[in-house]
């Protein structure tokens, strides 16, 4: 909501409150100020100047040297290139050291050797337009033959030495301006010489001066414009619609500050209004808040309409089909409408409220919407067939062309304003082109209606056209406001002389609304706030917001549908008592569940171990593209492809919920690889998402590791996995080769178990997959199920007595088939020992000279110890012998 403080002052006089104070106080009472800007800051030292005299620049054929009265003792000389000024004109003069919108600074200087002490300004240079801001200032240039530049110098349409009386074409001849006098604003009386014959003509062309040569149409007795000559702009380079803004404002004097003249002497406040307070999307609503905030009286105005007789009831019928969708429809009729620009004060207020002025009738509807917060619509009543307004939902197949020119297909749940044959307006959203206010509109029906917010919201969303009106309606508006607003609109019609208001108001109430009644319960309010605000203070605050108090009964104003409970009353009290005056206390609510729970402790521990191993934490998106499953070579029939789909994703890349974290990890590894980071070791404890029967998801967490780099190999990442499992004291761990996982290298992938419980996968990514990601190095990853890790986590440790007796170590190297795994050998060694073996450590694997082809030598260090005595060499040897015997028997592994 954009608010003009000058407009606000009309309702609550706050002229002595600084912008800073206004910002702080309004923000702290609940109307959050986003910005305050002063348009005048953009326009400095620009004043009204009166042109006292003009002379041709001695060194230029299109510049004028002007003397201006700018309210100072001496006239000021300014050189301008514009041709639309005349002696006596009032113009905006940017003096030496002035500032124009857009940060343009003007200083004195010389133009082709002639001193110029500033600049005369156009509308555009003031940040304005003729179309919307000052329609009267539109410029119509005549085609000056002395400005003619033929497109083809070889073939000029007008000879360079054209003389008065020469024929241009048909009835058009050349004529020389002998005199040009301003008769009224924008009207000039011109005396022409046509080869000795004198003609006199009145024209609106502003660019005529003594000595100019023009094209004169002897038949229509008019001076030709470019359009009349079918000429191109390039042929008359200086005959343009842009020129100095000739002021036509009342009560202005040379020297007056232009910022004030155009209403820039204002503060424009932009508020963030929360959706529960549509009443504050209006000058009056904000005035009420300001009145309560600054404790100043509010000057509410009751609109008065004189009327011109007649009776609206005889002219229009209004029917509402569904009172839930349209609780109230209020309308008034205006006849003999004169469409014209609205007055400067209204245009200024609209402009300072961020709305572009259009014409008097449209401007009135916008003005009332800003002032009262009630959207208005104006119909060209001649386009309403049968004089019958029907508020109904659209019929199957109906369409309407809206004011923005688009053809809209309507559906049967969209509320429309219709005549007997067709929709003329999408209710609360946008009017129809078929009943648009145009230049010759004579009868206007002003609609001020109340619609169901949810219905308007759905229609606007379905048509993808949120308008100023719909965004207000969708928040739920005050049904009591429709009458005031339509009265105000008609009052303005009379004030502006825009037409004659027919007597009577059509006010159809299809659904009654009862005021909300609450009880004033000071104890409960203070109990909720933790304050001791007096009851008198509560009453004062509520009354300042127009709540009616009768004993302890509160009648909530109709525009405050957000207030329905004592907690809402508490907020009203707190807002004006001051949130920051409420004391600070510490609360109850302690529970036994406080602190980290067991799951969270394990999560924290996992992060700690990963980081200790050198892995960096990453955060990846939970949603991925379905094509990512292809990138990890997941088979077409894989169950993992059964992902939850987002029906309205931002794009394909974020369109499904991942069932595996692998693509997320690979994406980040790839990104780092592409950034030319030499190595990366990453981890994430992230969720995956699986469909559940009830429509929601199982969201199991996965600890994923990913790495690449010079020192990285299968055993590096396996080592980290082992460290994690050891840290959690997970027992009975087995790594089993997995040649079937399509994402991984078939020879370098293992699944990890604790007993029978599958914990996850570790391995090198398949070169196919690396290639899919465009990575030309070995990628490694591990995926561990958090739930499985948590389930297999070992118990807290119990102290084991430290060994009292020394251990004996023996190294053995056995030769076996290459296919025999180290895991099998280790397992066999453990089973072969007779109870003295405490540890087995692999220390060498050798193939080559001395070992038969197809064989390998594997060396282990065995640690043997008894808990109750020092071992003898014989005892140790007996165990080793038993181990070797089993190795040979089961695996064919013989001592080397």
């Amino acid at each position: 909501m954009i608010l003009s403080r000058k407009w606000l002052n009309e309702y609550v006089d706050l002229h002595d409150i600084s912008d800073k104070e206004f910002n702080d106080e309004m923000t702290l009472s609940g109307s959050k100020v986003e910005t305050i800007t002063c348009p005048a800051d953009e326009l400095k030292n620009v004043v009204v100047g009166k042109i006292l005299s003009m002379e041709h620049h001695p060194d230029s054929d299109h510049m004028w040297v002007c003397q201006l009265d700018v309210g100072q003792a001496e006239p000021v000389q300014i050189v301008t290139g514009a041709w639309n000024i005349h002696v006596g004109d009032l113009v905006p003069a940017a003096l030496h050291k002035s500032l124009l919108p857009g940060g343009i600074k003007i200083e004195k200087g010389k133009l082709r050797g002639v001193p110029s002490n500033g600049m005369l300004c156009s509308l555009k240079e003031m940040g304005l337009t003729a179309d919307h801001d000052y329609p009267y200032a539109a410029i119509t240039p005549a085609a000056l033959l002395n400005d003619y530049k033929p497109l083809d110098p070889e073939k000029p349409s007008v000879p360079a030495d054209v003389q008065p009386g020469h024929k241009i074409y048909g009835p058009v001849v050349a004529a020389k301006v002998l005199e040009c006098a301003t008769t009224a604003y924008g009207q000039y009386h011109v005396v022409l010489d046509i080869n000795g014959v004198t003609a006199m003509v009145d024209t609106a062309c502003q660019n005529l001066h003594e000595g100019d040569m023009v094209a004169y149409n002897t038949k229509s007795e008019s001076i030709c414009t470019l359009a009349d000559l079918h000429a191109e702009q390039a042929e008359f380079p200086h005959c343009i619609t842009d020129g100095i803004w000739i002021l036509n404002e009342e009560n202005i004097q040379p020297g007056d500050d232009m910022a004030k003249v155009i209403g820039f002497d204002d503060s424009i406040v932009e508020f963030e209004i929360t959706p529960n307070r549509p009443d504050c999307l209006s000058v009056i609503g904000l005035a009420r808040e300001a009145s309560a905030t600054f404790r100043r009286p509010m000057n509410l105005h009751t609109p008065e309409v004189k009327g011109c007789g007649g009776s609206i009831a005889e002219m229009v019928d209004i029917d509402i089909e569904d009172g839930d969708l349209c609780p109230r429809y209020t309308a008034r009729m205006v006849k003999n409408v004169k469409i014209q620009p609205s007055p400067a004060w209204m245009r200024e207020r609209l402009r300072n409220s961020g709305v572009r002025p259009i014409n008097n009738i449209v401007d009135i509807t916008n003005y009332v919407m800003l002032e009262y917060g009630q959207p208005m619509h104006a119909f060209d009543f001649s386009c309403v067939d049968g004089g019958h307004i029907i508020v109904r939902t659209a019929r199957e197949g109906e369409t309407i062309q809206t004011l923005d020119g688009n053809q809209r297909k309507l559906t049967t749940n969209m509320l429309c304003i219709c005549d007997e044959n067709k929709p003329v307006c999408v209710a609360g959203v946008m009017g129809g082109a078929n009943s648009e206010i145009v230049g010759d509109t004579a009868m206007v029906l002003f609609e001020s209606a109340n619609f169901n917010g949810t219905s308007i919201h759905r229609t606007a969303a379905a048509l993808n056209m949120r308008t100023d009106a719909s965004s207000r309606y969708e928040k739920g508006l005050d049904p009591m406001n429709t009458m005031k607003a339509v009265e105000r609109a008609c009052e303005l019609v009379e004030l502006l002389g825009a037409g004659e208001v027919v007597d009577g108001v059509m006010d159809v109430i299809a659904k009654d609304s009862n005021p909300t009644i609450l009880k004033l319960e000071p104890t409960k309010v203070n109990g909720l706030l933790g304050t001791d605000v007096s009851e008198a203070e509560m009453r004062r605050i509520l009354e300042s917001l127009d709540f009616q108090l009768d004993g302890d009964q509160i009648t909530v104003p109709s525009w405050r549908s957000d207030v329905e409970h004592y907690s809402d009353i508490a907020e009203e009290v707190a807002r004006f008592y001051g949130y920051n005056v409420i004391p600070d206390t510490l609360s109850n609510g302690l529970t036994e569940r406080r602190g980290y729970n067991e799951v969270q402790k394990v999560e924290n521990e996992l992060g700690l171990v990963c980081r200790s191993a050198g892995y960096n934490e990453i955060i990846t998106y939970s949603f991925i593209s379905p094509t990512y499953y292809d990138k990890i070579d997941l088979p077409a029939d894989s169950a993992l492809r059964d992902s939850l789909k987002i029906l309205n994703p931002l794009g394909e890349d974020t369109s499904i919920m991942r069932t595996t974290t692998l693509p997320s990890m690979l994406e980040i590894l790839t990104r780092n690889y592409n950034f030319r980071n030499k190595s990366a070791m990453l981890y994430e404890l992230g969720r995956t998402y699986f469909k559940r029967a009830d429509g929601l998801a199982d969201e199991p967490k996965v600890l994923s590791l990913g790495a690449y780099g010079a020192d990285m190999d299968f055993f590096s990442i396996k080592g980290v996995v082992e460290t994690i499992l050891k840290d959690l004291r997970i027992s009975d761990v087995k790594f089993v080769a997995d040649r079937t996982n399509p994402s991984y290298h078939p020879g370098r992938c293992a699944v990890v178990f604790s007993g029978d419980k599958l914990l996850g996968t570790v391995g090198q990514l398949h070169p196919h997959v690396a290639k899919n990601y465009g990575v030309d190095t070995e990628l490694y990853a591990a995926e561990l199920s958090f739930d499985a890790l948590y389930a297999t986590k070992g118990a807290d440790p119990v102290y084991q007595a430290l060994p009292k007796f020394p251990a004996v170590t023996r190294d053995i190297a056995v030769v076996c088939d290459k296919a025999v795994t180290v895991g099998e050998l280790e397992d066999c060694i453990r089973r072969g020992a007779k109870g003295l073996l405490k540890a087995v450590t692999l220390f060498d694997i050798y193939t080559g000279v001395g070992i038969a082809p197809g064989k390998k030598s594997v060396a282990f260090n065995l640690t043997l110890r008894a808990d109750d005595r020092s071992l003898t060499a014989e005892e140790a040897d007996a165990d080793v012998k038993s181990v070797l015997a089993l190795l040979e028997r089961e695996l064919g592994a013989v001592l080397r």
């Binding site: 009472s29 959050k32 959706p275 307070r277 917010g453 919201h457 759905r458 969303a461 928040k475 109990g527 909720l528 706030l529 304050t531 957000d562 907690s567 907020e571 707190a574 807002r575 949130y579 920051n580 409420i582 004391p583 600070d584 206390t585 510490l586 609360s587 609510g589 302690l590 529970t591 406080r594 602190g595 980290y596 729970n597 799951v599 969270q600 980081r611 200790s612 050198g614 960096n616 990453i618 955060i619 998106y621 939970s622 949603f623 029906l647 309205n648 931002l650 974020t654 919920m657 990104r671 780092n672 950034f675 980071n677 070791m681 969720r687 998402y689 429509g695 929601l696 998801a697 969201e699």
Partner: protein, 341 residues
């Protein structure tokens, strides 16, 4: 003989004092004290002495021997010290050469901040709750008192998983308020951090996935003063004891009264600067007293119990804390970024 002994003493002591190496000292020991040494040779002549002279010469010879032995001992220590000094000198390292690196990984910047915030709440007796990201519309909106026409329900704002709009990706952590009340009943004192999703295109300050931290306290006699006291205490712990806050009325469908909490800009002290976009204040969280309708929706009697709830965006916290200029860095996971924290 006496003269002989004196000569040995004199010569030997001079030689010993002049030695530079342990080997030279050993050679002197042999030369004087060895079996064929000079002193030994003199002693061998003792047999030819008279009975009167023998003890006198014997004593003198012993004195000379002792003197030589002491001198050798002393010189040996000196030489050992010298040798050690030389060895240490040769072992000197350039202490400015970098040490052998021990590479440890880094916690993500955002979770570093999250852990700090969690700790502040844990210290104040809160529990930490976790909940689903695929959520029911009912929990994300309806039970939180969001009106049917609330714009945040639009398909342009929220990611939906079913055509009937019943299942969605949660847009806020606030559904955890409902889950906490339904799961635990009263009293409650919890925070719930987690991922949330909104249909925002990625740019320097937006991401379709981001993180929030929800908080909820429900018990008898919980007041807005408790809300202020708790949040001010938390902010002072996170931002330092000199932090200045202001509580400003706001609107959330699920709290009443509602507020937003601003922190006075640490850079300009409230005067207005680019960091606070000229406002002097930086919004840090939203909060309010749990709406009586919400309590009732969760089976808690609002006439008996009250509570406060709050929520904050984690990304903005982390970006402010570490001066991270672009939100995309957080999800890009460039190792050169990760290793800075």
């Amino acid at each position: 003989m006496k003269d002989q002994l004196e000569a040995i003493r004199k010569g030997a002591l001079e030689s010993i004092a002049g030695t530079q190496a342990a080997a030279d000292l050993d050679a002197l020991r042999v030369k004087y004290l060895g079996k064929k040494g000079e002193l030994t040779a003199v002693l061998k002549q003792m047999g030819g002495l008279s009975a009167e002279l023998r003890p006198i010469m014997g004593q003198m010879a012993n004195e000379v021997r002792a003197a030589l032995e002491n001198a050798i001992e002393a010189q040996s220590s000196v030489l050992a010290e010298k040798a050690l000094a030389a060895k240490l000198e040769s072992e000197t390292v350039d202490v400015t050469i970098p040490g052998k690196p021990v590479e440890i990984g880094h916690k993500h910047a955002m979770y570093t901040v999250l852990d700090e915030i969690k700790q502040v709440f844990l210290d104040m007796g809160f529990e930490i709750m976790d909940g689903p990201e695929v959520e029911l519309e009912d929990y994300n909106f309806t039970k939180l008192n969001a009106p049917e026409s609330h714009p945040s329900r639009d398909w342009t704002d929220t990611f939906y998983l079913t055509e009937d709009s019943k299942i969605l990706l949660r847009t806020q952590t606030s559904p955890m308020q409902i889950r906490a009340m339904e799961e635990h009943g009263v009293p409650i004192r919890m925070i719930s951090p987690g991922r949330v999703y909104r249909k925002d295109e990625v740019d320097a300050t937006h991401s379709p996935m981001f993180h929030q931290i929800e908080g909820l306290v429900v018990d008898k006699d919980i007041t807005m003063a408790d809300l202020k006291g708790t949040l001010n205490a938390v902010i002072k712990k996170i931002y330092g004891p000199q932090s200045v806050t202001r509580f400003r009325p706001h609107h959330f469908p699920f709290t009443e009264p509602s507020c937003e909490v601003d922190l006075q800009c640490h850079k300009c002290g409230g005067k207005g600067c680019p960091t606070c976009k000229g406002e002097g204040w930086i919004e840090v969280l939203g909060a309010g007293m749990v709406h009586p309708k919400v309590l009732r929706n969760c089976g808690i009697d609002p006439d008996e119990y009250s509570g406060f709830a709050f929520g904050m965006g984690l990304e903005r916290f982390a970006m402010g804390r570490f001066k991270i200029s672009d939100l995309r860095l957080i999800f890009e996971n460039d190792i050169r970024f990760l290793e800075q924290f």
